[in-house]
Symmetry: C2
Subunit: 342 residues, 2 copies
Amino acid sequence: MGLNAEIAAQPEIAERLLREGPAQLAPLVEAVRRRGVTHVVIAARGSSDHAAVYAQYVLGALGRLPVALAAPSLFTLYASPPRVADALVIGISQSGRSPDIVAVLAEARRQGALTAAITNDPDSPLTATAEHRLDLQAGAERSIAATKTYTAELLVIAMLAVALGTDASWDDALAAVPDAQRAALELSGRAAELADERAGLADCVVLGRGFNLATAHEWALKLKELAYVRAQAYSSADFQHGPVASLAPGADVLAIVAPGPLAADAADLVGRLRTERRARVLLLAPEPMPGTDHLGVPAGVPEWLSPLVSIIPAQLFVAALARAKGLDVERPRGLHKVTLTR
Amino acid sequence: MGLNAEIAAQPEIAERLLREGPAQLAPLVEAVRRRGVTHVVIAARGSSDHAAVYAQYVLGALGRLPVALAAPSLFTLYASPPRVADALVIGISQSGRSPDIVAVLAEARRQGALTAAITNDPDSPLTATAEHRLDLQAGAERSIAATKTYTAELLVIAMLAVALGTDASWDDALAAVPDAQRAALELSGRAAELADERAGLADCVVLGRGFNLATAHEWALKLKELAYVRAQAYSSADFQHGPVASLAPGADVLAIVAPGPLAADAADLVGRLRTERRARVLLLAPEPMPGTDHLGVPAGVPEWLSPLVSIIPAQLFVAALARAKGLDVERPRGLHKVTLTR
């Protein structure tokens, strides 16, 4: 199964997870409640780290839990781990084999913390280390760049947030994800058109905020891995605290604007980058904006679930851009499917 | 006082803080102990956010506390703040005036959390909002790019970590910071030489890890703000999980290698980038490495304090690079001293 097939498989994987995930989630949710967990610590790298960024927002907003991203080197090379006994400690890893992520979970369990592994390999060391397991059930991912396991990670985290929360309507919102993802897959033609117009793209910034800060990071990573674009992701708020100075006139900006309370500020920033910096803007959003190139995002899910949908046109764009640049998406320079850092 | 004078003032500011800071720290440390605080939540933007990255490591390693970086939009635009009543919530802001940082502290205080403001303006809204205040006492910072307030923020955080910890030798290590910073200021000639050789620098990656991940982020931000370099900072571990693919042959790499348990892996990565990617490497480290250009970092402080020293040659390099490019460091494109995001 190649990259394009894995991108196309995402709605079906979401359906399976929505059907079979709750049975694995229930004992973890019960344990979180019983122990009165007050915060979450997550260890992850690469695309899984972007799923952790999403977790900061969705576990914060729906589950009301603050989320710390673990600094794995404190647990490994420095051997000075923080005390995490009162936390829920989650390891997220497609392969379940990165030694530093396994080490964080092992130390957390040693300290007596509640632990959970989110992984696509139920026989991995990470699964063996954690007390609770949340399997992605996405089927083997052969492409080096994670796509279907990324959205599966987001969905497991969203399901956890919903289960920890209080609003019955959230379950209906989850059920709408697969169809919204199917509609997003229909955008492959438009994504290819925009990619062909940008076949020379060498560097750009990718702006998002809130729930879709994760989308900005993941889109930038795919651009780097597969299309060798020096893409730099920012929260659109952080971008204005300094990095905006480095934006050359006429530079490429990819912007994600989700509907919701952040949309007005984001649209305002995009407008200013266009007029004051003459930026060439590719806008990933439900609605177009004048003077920008528009890659649509299907409606149908609330903002807190939009990262599971908006990343799909972004993936399609990157795959098309790599093709336009004549690059082999199955053999990115210097990468392997499993990266072992300690 | 211009940028160069503010860079030069850092040792004197550190001396003042070491002398006068403990009186402000004592009641906060007493409250952390009394309440049995189990984790820390920090809200910050720009350079102050890099001080927060340092806090993740130094409060984790010395104070054994996990640190979450707040997602301010959850507190402001989304109005769905996580529960932080059991945490120590710290706002870090040079000006103390960013509305979103103030909003995080206001909500934390409303929830009954222990709160502290680290700022250079004792009359700011942030100071008025937090229960405890830790003043930087760095004198007005006129340059748009933060330098002296950044190292002062690091020092306040290191002093807090030492006060929460258990090792009497840590106080002696703190006392050695001003002299190590003075020795670092002596590197301005070498920094200018390396900057002149790189007057055409347009983009680069900046690699660091552990305590000096903060240094990598802060160095990259200064490069963007003052020298308009598209500099992208990475943990050298995260870099290998994908972004390495985007590194073109012969690309510029700036690498920070501090002495300590991470040094061997970092040196190994630098060697591979040199040989496999023909990277042009500028090495910020106590010792040189073959085939790289070396910008020294004075010894004299342990690794956990090295970010307070290693950023100084990096600041000197950026100031010299901006000069070599003919840019005005006091008027960076599109920036203001105080950025108001919500």
